[in-house]
Symmetry: C2
Subunit: 328 residues, 2 copies
């Protein structure tokens, strides 16, 4: 996709570029210090993806709520914890989905085996809990512990509802909150709490992260239908194949009743998956999903209107807009 | 083993029998409320083992430090968290070891598959962290978060040192602390903290749990050589077969240099494992391991001398003595 004029997401992170660079070094040291094999896994993990969207949000919110002051070591630690939790969940997801590649890079389970991947995920969750406790702020501990519970909840829900064509859009939004938005919501709010913002403002930061996260997930789910194998780092239609019913499919189901039968028989007959993909493509599922994402982005942006003007506030707004643009 | 005159471990739990029964009901509700499949796994888990050693220690310490007062809902929640963390670690251990049976009962991965087992473990860890945060006591949050880190640390260490004949007794004791004793130490201390005991006394409760846990692990490792398949619920010599070098082997290595070669080649030749087992049996490894466990039990008992007389204190002492007796 390098040939497209689309700006890279990292452009929006320019105001926190140094913060992210420090984070990357710290994470590798925090995680890999005692175990060479975890160090290798950590290198692999933290280098591989490189986008650092979640800690970037933490840094941007931290700096946008700490105008004229430097952010504290606790803000930095929060960003690190956020990335650890996110990474731990990816590592276990890949074991569960027996995924061999993520964003074009071999997974930990593929490179090091299930044993190391399960342990590395447990270790990251555990380290995150430990650093969290040492932030010495019970509200932040609660916020982020809730995120870890939500992850497990989202994964289990996804696991139990695969190929269930009675899965509703409401269920989908709830699952997307658990899987993706909870971390962005909880960590954006926690950054505000560490800056000492009011309760009303910290709740608005939660709403910002929540709506950004839901939009992000919807766009990700659209890209599963519109992206190329190269840009996705996995074959298009992978979600549908696994029975993961996302916004475009749920909207398409309203227009194309034939889709239901294909899903119910879990694409067991030759050509079923291609037929289903074509039905989604020819429906308004993708454009309606875009509208849905757009609504959440608007809510996200309006949740941070109260922030004083700063390059960091602007980056948060640009980032929200960019999330939406990814779907075109 | 029912024919032996050995008392059942549950006899020592008599003073907290009702507490344990409430705990068992609560755990099933806490874990299984939202997901039928987790409820099934939870039923399976919490019924299956039934021994509840760890929460029993929490209740006994709680009551022994709350003479003339009832224990609080926080003490109860701590006992539940302790059992959740322990169970989560067992579930993931069984996936990692691809174990089909534990104490004679099919494992979660065997009954429900790896996917559910990984998710159930993550969910239990997450729920434990969440309830922990809601105890509203930062010291307790830190103590138990450390335990979760130690588990991961112990597992990784065990994974990396398999078949490593240069593994020292010191390494073994450290690993045993991480794997087994850390939870007993951290939760015994946390129970004291919730009762408001002095720092000196809470540290002694940590030492009690630590030494009891290390002795418990040593005895478990002895039983792997002396127990029957029926009493162990798995074939004798399982640890050694997997390259897990425990106290009896480490002592035997000092007397029987031939053992080293067998371990180094990972019992790859026919009869190697039987030869190794015979070498351990004919050495003083088992009796020296018993002496080692005995020393830790003495330390454990002396760590709670300061507790006022009560049936609960007596149960803690009896329990410590019983742990040792299991090895005969």
């Amino acid at each position: 996709m390098q040939s497209l004029p689309m700006p890279s997401v990292t452009e929006f992170f320019a105001p926190v570029k140094e913060d992210l660079s420090t984070l990357s070094t710290n994470l590798k040291n925090l995680v890999g210090a005692r175990h060479p094999i975890l160090y290798a896994a950590a290198e692999h993990l933290f280098e591989g993806r490189g986008k650092s969207l979640r800690p970037a949000i933490v840094f941007l919110v931290s700096r946008a709520t700490m105008i004229d002051r430097d952010i504290t070591p606790r803000h930095r630690r929060l960003a690190e914890i956020t990335e650890m939790i996110h990474t731990a969940s990816l590592v276990h997801d890949d074991v569960i989905d027996t995924a061999e590649v993520r964003r074009g890079i071999p997974t930990v389970n593929h490179n090091f085996g299930n044993r190391v991947a399960i342990l590395a995920g447990d270790f990251l969750f555990a380290q995150a809990s430990w650093y969290l406790a040492n932030l010495d702020n019970l509200e932040v501990v609660k916020l982020l512990s809730k995120v870890i519970t939500d992850f497990a909840e989202g994964e289990i829900s996804q696991s139990l509802t695969a190929f269930d064509s009675s899965f509703s859009l409401e269920d989908y939004l709830e699952k997307s909150f658990y899987k993706t938005a909870s971390l962005m919501a909880g960590s954006a709010k926690a950054a505000g709490v560490l800056s000492g913002v009011s309760i009303a403002h910290s709740d608005l930061l939660f709403d910002f992260g929540k709506n950004l996260g839901i939009a992000f997930q919807i766009v990700d789910d659209i890209l599963d239908f519109t992206g190329s194998t190269e840009s996705l780092g996995k074959p298009a239609g992978s979600d549908l194949k696994q029975g993961n019913l996302t916004a475009p499919v749920l909207f398409a189901l309203e227009e194309k009743p034939q889709l239901e039968g294909l899903i119910d028989r879990e694409f067991s007959e030759l050509g079923d998956l291609d037929k289903a993909l074509a039905l989604v493509q020819s429906s308004n599922g993708i454009s309606r999903s875009r509208e849905l994402a757009k609504g959440h982005i608007k809510l996200a942006v309006s949740s941070i209107e109260w922030l004083p003007s700063s390059p960091h506030k602007q980056s948060l707004i640009d980032l929200a807009t960019y999330v939406l643009d990814r779907s075109f």
